[in-house]
Amino acid sequence: MGRRILLTGLDTFWGGRVAAALERDLEIEMLLGMGTGTPSVALERTEYVRADSSYSLLARIVKATQVDTIVHTFLVVDSSAMSGRALHETNVIGTMNLLAAAGAAGSSVRQVIVKSSSLVYGSHPADPVWFTEDTPRSLPPRFRLERSLAEVESYVRDFADENPGVTVTVLRFANVLGPNINTPISRNLARGVMPCIAGFDPLMQFVAEEDVVRCLQTMVLQSIAGTYNVSGDGRIPISEVAKIAGAWRLPISPVFTRQAVAPLIRLGLLDLPVELEHLLRYGRGIDTTRLKAAGFEFSTSSAGAIERYAEVMRLRRAIGDHTPGYKYEADVEAFFKHSPAIVRQTEAAR
């Protein structure tokens, strides 16, 4: 029997991309995606269930579908994306329900993969230059987003302790850049602006979105356990990030920073969630030695990820955004996936 995989956040960028990448693998017998909205990527054979963000339905679904792998991509890592309460529901309660379903008596789940963020390390002057997977934070998390991610990871650790038979993988990603992902940094760069705190030029890391998708895919297919930092090589000062991306540096006052940017954020001219503000002050470095030792190879460095994104932005400025939009139609999807009228390529290939 092939693998049976459940993906959360199918309607988000990550879920959709990972599902599309996994679909191609015939080893995988069944792919089931969950999400709160509609999928944004055209998918061949991935089943889709709409659920609320806290996944209260999960235990039933896991039992009924007998999935062996859960890929949890639906963790929010941008505090400007939703309110504090919604963030808590999605990250903390969502993960709790997910792990409860995966750890229920008689569960068929053998692997759980969680897409976390390097935000769990925080950003503080007392930080080391490099964080390894085992380096503790310098101070306990202060912001809602960091707190919620720290709670998520502690649930995942508890789950791993209680279920020694399950392969548990946690991936902590650095700032992701790419043509499709939408983050505070990518939105700023698309406006041609790179905010920075006057007098500070800390080092940042980036990872290209295709590397993120490939990394998640590798972890699923090879069932690698453990916690891993994921980032392209090199650490780039913000001034150079702006240079590579062809953006203007927007210096912000180092004192009363929040008050200084509030009107710009309100007017929609700038994205600067509080966790990014601290990153712009002190930077962060995550050590990817462990991931590379596990055999993963990055397609590009930190600087390369910025450059690729810069190319996409230049193209968009020249020709406009012409990527054909995909619209999810439940009837059409059901027809293509389940109607006997469709000749199924994958089965024929087997």
């Binding site: 002057p125 080391p128 230059v129 490099w130 380096t135 007098g199 030029d201 090589d233 090199g234």
Partner: protein, 280 residues
């Protein structure tokens, strides 16, 4: 907190990546900023402080070592002079480990990092000494050294909790004590203003002799031309296995105290032989 990856001879060269647009390496150090520092430092090193070394052969020309000195002067001039001197005389870079307070100061923190300064975190020191096999410089007195008054000059403060010894033991490198004479007189503190320092969130706010001589602005940036002498003491090797998660606290404290004693005696000896503060 501990991490033991494979050996890398030195940090990756940033210019090897075609997408890069600057020469800032993974530690924040930039060769072009170093060139600027060398030009400025060269003037101070040769003409202003007229630095003279003793026992320079005690600093190895390859392999990691932790340089340890006495710290002095309101804005310490000893760190850049040792860094410049070793680079000039031996052609080896020195990573200066400084209190992470620096990182919170706009401009100063960034420039310090570009010129080869690193926040004094045990993990950072371990990577520099063990993984990269480079030289690191640390002042175990910490902020207590430069904040002392001129009347307490050359009286070594407590050597922290001996963290530098543990770091050297773990990295398997020797500690090389360097006694510095001259830095105390380059910017002596006459008076401290603790109240204002607290409001400004500074570790200390000094009123220096330089302020009296050069005025409030120039006095903050200009050093008095004291004669500098560095005496490098023989390397202290620790007979322990490297890379252990923990070392006996008592042993660490004893070693730290022994190094402090050695430095203190070297300082007294050098001062006894010094005829003039300005001409050595």
């Amino acid at each position: 907190m501990l991490h033991f990856p494979g050996l890398e001879p030195q940090p990756a060269n940033p210019l090897a990546d075609p997408a890069r647009r600057s020469d800032v390496d993974e530690w924040g150090r930039s060769e072009s900023a170093r060139r600027l520092a060398r030009r400025l430092g060269g003037f101070y090193y040769r003409r202003w402080f007229r630095v003279e070394w003793e026992g320079l052969e005690n600093i190895p020309t390859s392999g990691g070592a932790l340089l340890v000195g006495n710290h002095a002067g309101a804005i310490p001039s000893d760190a850049p002079m040792i860094m410049h001197g070793v680079e000039e005389e031996l052609g080896r870079p020195v990573y200066g480990l400084a209190d992470n307070f620096f990182r919170t100061v706009p401009l100063v923190g960034t420039e310090w990092s570009r010129m080869g300064g690193v926040a004094a975190h045990p993990d950072n020191a371990h990577r520099i000494l063990h993984d990269h096999q480079q030289l690191a410089l640390v002042f175990p007195e910490g902020i207590k050294g430069p904040s002392k008054l001129a009347s307490e000059r050359y009286q070594l403060r407590r050597f922290g909790r001996g963290g530098f010894v543990e770091t050297a033991m773990r990295a398997g490198v020797p500690v090389i004590p360097i006694a510095v004479v001259g830095a105390e007189e380059s910017m002596p503190i006459l008076y401290r203003l603790p109240g204002i320092a607290k409001v400004l969130r500074l570790p200390y706010l000094p009123l220096t002799a330089n302020h009296l001589v050069f005025g409030p602005v120039l006095g903050t940036v200009l050093y008095l031309p004291a004669k500098f002498r560095f005496r490098v003491l023989p390397p202290v090797q620790f007979d322990v296995a490297p890379r252990l998660p923990k070392y006996p606290r008592g042993r660490v404290m004893d070693e730290a105290e022994a190094i402090r004693q050695q430095l203190q005696e070297a300082l007294y000896d050098m001062l006894a032989h010094r005829r003039s503060v300005w001409f050595g």
